[in-house]
Symmetry: C2
Subunit: 127 residues, 2 copies
Amino acid sequence: MATMKFSRQREAIKEYLSNTKEHPTADTVYMNIRKTYPNISLGTVYRNLNLLVDQGEVIKLNGIDGSDHFDGQVKPHYHFVCNGCNRIYDLEMESIEHIDSIANKNFPGKVEGHMAYFYGTCQECLE
Amino acid sequence: MATMKFSRQREAIKEYLSNTKEHPTADTVYMNIRKTYPNISLGTVYRNLNLLVDQGEVIKLNGIDGSDHFDGQVKPHYHFVCNGCNRIYDLEMESIEHIDSIANKNFPGKVEGHMAYFYGTCQECLE
DNA sequence: TTGTTTATAATAATAATTACTATTATTTGA
DNA sequence: TCAAATAATAGTAATTATTATTATAAACAA
């Protein structure tokens, strides 16, 4: 039944993600973990990122640009993408869950949720 | 200044998209246009889809799955993705533009818009 | 009709991600 | 403690979606 075994590489990835506010791509994770594990392979990074996502320890963000981004903060929250610097910020805000009921009103099926992110210009790029 | 020249392939793509309620990928467009233009190449499809998007005649949807999808309906609207059949439906609904102001409240930058889609189970898959 | 220029088909290249495989690390339990 | 069992790894190849290249063909203006 494929019991999961400990791996120091996976731990390092998890720890790296929980300590950064950036929302790195697999490749960026790879570059950073290499500082500690110079021989880690990109495939290992991808596989572990997906394992962590499956376990709910990490969130995968897609649809923002060509690559998937990963977020170590798993508490539900939204994201803001800056059109200037392309950085992704966490966005704590009051719930907008009600948009699901709005959508449900005019749709002949069952709306169960939504995916959303905001975009604009971040503080730093405004200055 | 690169004036755009007429092309029957581009016209066929535009017409195909304006007559379907599906939200096909470039590859699906390719398969369909081949019925009329058996020699059309996938590169031509991609180039014209992007040209049409640039001209505002077609909308590109990304972040739904691994591939870009194209929509011939350009009037602003939302989309619903069925978790059962993976089809993408148009979703006419009242405005939820106010979520941008909600996001703005707690973000130290300028929120200019959002990207969102809904998911759940479509009528057909519920039955 | 001819000359100029854009568009095309065919193909190659790129980028992101997943699959494969021989070797290594982790774990179990005698 | 050690050895067998098995999951994880590094390295590499393969895949998928998309964009770039280029010689030829189609569109169009004079």
